[in-house]
Structures are given as C-alpha cells and as structure tokens.
Amino acid sequence: MQTLTINGQDYQVDAPESMPLLWAIRDLIGLTGTKFGCGVAQCGACSIMIDGAVVRSCSTMVSQAIGKNITTIEGTSASLEALRQAWRNNSVPQCGYCQSGQLISAAELLDTNNNPTDEDIDNAMSGNICRCGTYVRIKKAIKEAVELKKQV
C-alpha cells in the first residue's frame, strides 16, 4: 500500500510496480478528470502537478509522487480559478477532452509567471495537443486569466 495525496486528500493505493500515476489516479482511485491521450508524454492530456510542477502522469511513476502534493483538474488554486473564469468567458472547449491538461499546464504558467509573453505561452502550452483546435481561444483566455488573477 502506498499513500498518494491528491488535492489535499490522502488515498491508499496498491499499484503494480511499473504503473504510471495516470492509471493509479484513474483506475485505482477513480478520479477520471485526468485523461489518457497517448501514453508517451506527447499530448499533455494527462497533465497533473506534483508539488506545483507539471508532469505528464502517463510517464511518471507512482513512486515519484509519494509524500508529495498532487494537484489534478478536480482540485483548485487561485490560478486555476482565474483560468476557469477566463475559459468560461471565452467558451474555450469544444469536445473538452484535452482541457483538463490545458488548464493544468496553464495553471503552472500563471503560478510562475505574472506577465507571460506570447512566447512564454507558446512554450508552456505546446506540449498540450487540442485535436479540436481551440488554441486561439486558449491563448486569449490565458491572457485574460493573468489580468483576472491580478484583480483578486
């Protein structure tokens, strides 16, 4: 048994040795907001934060998260809430499937950069594929969230 701390709550899991975090979170714990897209760190759908840093959970071992704080899309933070509001304002999602990962990647950007440039946004977000093609809106919403966050 291992203990994983996700969004401030402890979960006991009995994960097979080589199992990546993605599957422990989805199949063993049952939090399905974190998505499977490629399994090889190419698409960003499975993005989560460990102690505030974004990782691709499909390619991160359970052992790397023991004793640390995991944040998933089911969680919250000042950056995530600002982003959610901006996402609403801009009707960003189409199918929505990639958006958990997009929001998590964007949250790290906002946590670490108060005034991201276009280039900063491109760099932070280019690991996240959106097959529906909502990039223009994501970029606009991130800029808006930066402003929203300053207001609170």
């Binding site: 199992m19 399905t32 959610r84 009707s91 199918c95 929505g96 097959r131 093609g133």
Partner: protein, 737 residues
Amino acid sequence: MEKIEMKRRDFVKVLGLASGGLLFGCNVSADKVVVNTLENGISFVPNLFIQLQKDGKLTIVVARSEMGQGIRTSMASAIAEDLEADWKYVTVQQATGDSKFGNQNTDGSRSIRTLLKPMRKMGAMARTILEQAAAKKWNIPVSNCKAENHFVKNSTTGEEIFFGDLVEEAKTIAIPSDENIILKDKKEFKYIGKKVIRGIDMEDFLHGKANYGLDARLPNMKFASIARSPVTFGSVKSYDTSETVEIDGVEQVVQLDRLIPPAGQFFGMLGGVAVIANNTWSAFQGKNNLNIEWESGLNKTYDSEKFKEKLIGRIQNKSKVVPPFKGNVDKAFENADKVIEATYTMPHLVHAPMEVPNALAWVRDGKCDVWAPVQDPQTVRAEIAHFFGFAIEDITINVMMLGGAFGRKSKSDFVVEAVALSQKINAPVQVVWTREDDIQHSFYHAQNAQYLKGSLDKKGKVTGWLHRVAFPSITSSFKPMSNYIAGFELGMGFTNNPYDIENIQIENAKAESHLRIGWLRSVSNIISGFGINSFVDELAMVSGKDAIDFRLDLLGKDKAPTEKSPHPFNVARLKNVLLEAKKLSKWGRELPEGHGLGVAIHYSFYSYVATVVEVSVKSEKVKVENIYSVLDCGMYVNRDAVINQMEGAAIFGMSITMFGKISTKDGVVEQSNFHDYQMTRMIDAPNIHVHLVDNEEDPTGVGEPGVPPVSAAITNAIFNASGKRVRSLPLSDHGMV
C-alpha cells in the same frame, strides 16, 4: 403510424427523468412536429422529450452525440428560445440509442440543418400551452398573457406566474393547433444567433467531471487491450502468453475471431488476442508482452509509396467518364491558346480524436448494455443484434460524451469487440485502444491522386476542364472489390464543380483498397478542395489575373438555383463569401518580405466557405501567420460555437497540410503515435479570423465545411510568397515544416 402503448410513467422511467412535472413527447422530423403532453395515451412515437418541473427545471432529452460541436447546447437553446425559457433552468440529458429518438446519427453536419425548425416549433408549442394555462388560471383571454424568461406575464395587471407554477394547469390544456403556434420574430432572439452565456457542459469540462466513454465505470469491471494483426485482415497463427500472465493485474487472455460485416452494412471487428486485466495499464502491458505469430494475408504487399506511383500512372490515361459532362473537352483542348496540366496527391489520413476508441459492455441475462462514445448509437444497436443475436429491445446503448470523433466514432468496431469479450468472460469489460492501436488500425481517409487539365483562350478565359481522380472508395469497407469511387464521394466537389465552364469532363480511375477506408471530417471534399483550388490558382497565374477576380469570373453570372434539393446550390452565395474573404483579409495589401496570400473556396454540406491564408516562407520553412475564413451556413443557432468550429476546422486543415500522412510498408502502418503522426500545436497556431454571413436561409452544415479549402489556400499562399508550387501533401514531405 405505430400506436404507442407506453404510458407517461413508462416514459419517465425509460428516460430516467424525475417523476412529476409536465412531460412533452414530440415526434420531430425534418418537416413537421407532433406533440402531446403524454398525460393521456398518444397515437404517435415520440422522439424528443421535454420536461418542465415545478421548481422550473427544464430538461431536454437530446438524441445527438456531443463530440465538441456544442450540439447539446445548440439544440437546447433552439427549444429554449421559442419557449421563452430562462437559460439558468435548462439542463440536457443524453438519450440512449433507441429508435424512439428518431435518427440519432451525428455526421454529415446535419443535426441543426434538419432539426432547427422542428425544435423551435416544439418550444413555441410548449410556450403557447403555458400561456393558455396562465389565461385559464387568471380567467383572462390568452391574448393578454405573454411568456417571458420563465414567467407568464398578465399584460393588463403586470402580474407574473412562474413557469413551474403552471405545471398542473398546463396538463389540462389541449394541444394547440398549428395555426395558433407562432414562432418568435428573429429580432427578439435571445439565444439563436447570439453568444450563449454558458455551454451546457462547461462546468463539467472545467472540473474534469464530464463523462466520456473512457470514464464509464461499473463495479468489478475488467479492462481489455487487444493485439490486432499489423497487416489489415491478417489473422492469428499462434500465440504465447507466458510473459503476459506474469504481469500483475492480468487475469486472462482471450482470442477473438474476425467478424466480417454482411455486404452493405455494419463494421464488424478485426479480431486478435485480447488481454483482460483489472486495470487499463496491466491490460496494455499484457498486450505488449504477447508473442504472436500472424498470418498476414493478402494486404501484406501494400506499400503506400508504390501505390501512389501506381495511381499517378493510372490518371495519366483516359479513365471511366462519370456524368455529368458538358461539351467536348478534347475539342476545347485542340482549339486552346494555352493548355496546362497538373497532378496532385495526398496520402492516407487518420482521425486521431483526443479520446481513443473505447467501449464498456456488459452482457448478462440475455441483455446487453453498452457505455460508449458513439456517433451513431442506433447502428451500433442493430449491429450488436446482428452479430450476437440479442433482441433489439434487450440492447441499451448509453451514449457517453465523445472526446472528439471526426468520423472515427461512427464506426462501431470497438463496441463489437467489447460485447464479444463481455459475452466470453461473463463480466463487464471496457475495451481501451492505445494511441498506437488508433493510428494503426483505423478506417483511413483515402490516399488519392488527381490529374487536371485545363485550356485557356486568348483572353485568358477557361474553355475546357478535365478532372481525373483515383482513390480507394469508402464502399470497399462494406463491399469488397469496390474499386471505383462511389457517386456520393464524387458528389463531394468533383461532379458538382461550381465553375461555369463550357466543356467539362470528370473521370474516375481504378483504386483498390488495402486498408479499411472510412470517412474523416469533410470526407472526399478534402481531396476535391485541394485539387480544384490548386488548379484554378495555376490557371489564374498562367492567365496573369488576380486570383480572386479570376475565380469570380470563372463562377459566372448569378443564376436562380435550379437543383432539385432542399438546399439548392446558389452561386451568388459562393461569390459573396469570396468577396467577404477579400475584405476580411485586406486582399491586395502590401505584405512583409517573404509573406504571401492564397485563397480557396469550397461548397460542401450545403454551406459556402472562402478561406484566405497568409504564410511566411523563410529558408524554405513555412509558417502560417493568418487564416481568414468566411462561412455562409444560413441561419445558425449558437454563434460562438459556429465560430469555434471554424477555428477548429482551420487548425484541422493545417494539421492535414503540414503533417498529415499515414503510410504503409509491407502492409503495416508506419506511424504509431503523435511523435510521427503530428498535429498542429499552440506554437504553430496562426491568428484565425472568422466571419459569418448573416441571412435568413435554412441552416446548413457547420462542423465540416471549414476544412476543405484550407490546404489549397496554404499552398496557394506558398506559391504567392515563394514561387514554389506544392502539388503533393503534406509539407513535411518537402522539408517545409
């Protein structure tokens, strides 16, 4: 019409609605609406349900699949509009796959096209009943009662009644006759054509709560991963499971035979070896550790590069002429001042929706329940009945949210696999495709080659047009040995070429299929859109005219539409989008060094699109800077969702143009995941500018029409920027990305 035996409470139960409240059952088909409150027996089969509860909650049962096009929000807002509902009370429930909901197939960009009017009428009918109920309650003429934002207002006293408080009274009101149902004036619209405040699923998306197929869960369910033959339609010779059963979590290994669909319908399944585990990861690992010897079969010689050369060879020679043809092209070429010809090619493509194909099935007690992201639940149901012998009414398809589809999820092979496995192992089981499975075992968009030949007279006017095309047909997936393109495929831009040319001939050369061929967002319009728009550009350059003026000329004079169709082609609308795109893109403006503009137009799914692209070319590398798209889709419901679809179509078209390529060697697909089947990412995303034409025309397609013009607009822009004409896609083959 079939007499319906079910009572109100049966519907409430089947639909999983809360009891109580006012329930409308409607039969909605493209041209008419039949409705009743279901309080007494009814004499029709309802296919749409609306429930108003005493707390004001308005539930709409939507029978179309949500795959990113915002259909749940659009359908709900069309009803809410004429019902005068307050959006905050509106919720949507997804219908299971059942014939009582009418045609549920979500493809061909047709949902809003066929359902807008009937849905509005449905809303207006419910509103009229609520107004009459208020009139009865107040004992005043109905003309003094006006519904507004979930209340009915007494126009004399200013008094108001909440919709929810009219539920009981409304049950006693007779269904109003057609002439008493008045649709709202367009000027009063709050939702249709406006930006909707809140998409129905927005909060779920933002909190990871939306339930996609892959999120379906049942107690004690199993997870399965299937190894399928690397060569299409190969079979298992032998396999060794010793390294698989070692894996923690793996429970059993099951062989599946291929199921071949009967001619003309269904999809069957490929078969293979399935690993069953108690979690997805162990199933994946177990599959990777199988040692399988395959019997590759007939397709093992398929080499897509060689096949491309074969197709190019075939279209250099006269092929099967397909109607309609006009005049005499040979004469036109003989008498021409200039004759030019060009050959264009595009490879196979795959949908790669963000959510991989998957399905959860549970077969027990002679019944079959499925939870899956499917575009066409009724066909799935019929297919399960066919292969496994269940009675139709014992099969339930719970349509989950679709994490993208683009045509992939209307082919139900992945559901058939889950049902077959559940039946074999006697447990609920979810089949999960890996991304590698998705890229390597799909129903592919067809590799294609086109040869175009055109003639110009001394004034630079086009006098003759010959268009030869070859690609394996979608029909081959339903009828083996279908080696020619089907009429419905040729009707996507080839035989309905919009240009006014005196001599036209279309020819179709043979193309065998060696992979499963299927439809992908916009289907063969992608092919015709690239070939025709590229060639028209080449003609324009040779004639020395401006690319937009040349096209306007070539489209000819405005004519009254003559086609026998619910939405006949109107050339004036196509010219209009082109002119709007000219304006939007500031066509003709001075461009920075190394930049170029290109244009393309296309008519598909009854909608009209013009796209202008601005690229920059620096040391042979192409960057798409701006995409300007103009869409005329008639009346639209959710303005912002339509714009979002057009933005998405621009990116989808870009992915095709820059990177889209599935190739095979020895019958095996060479790509496997997003590192070698790449798509456009944020860093490459251009600015996208969308303009929607406002008119009162009937609504037409939105999801697909934006894609076909993108490729040629990009390559035409590259020519404008650099003088290099790209005739074979993708650009990555030329080292240009």
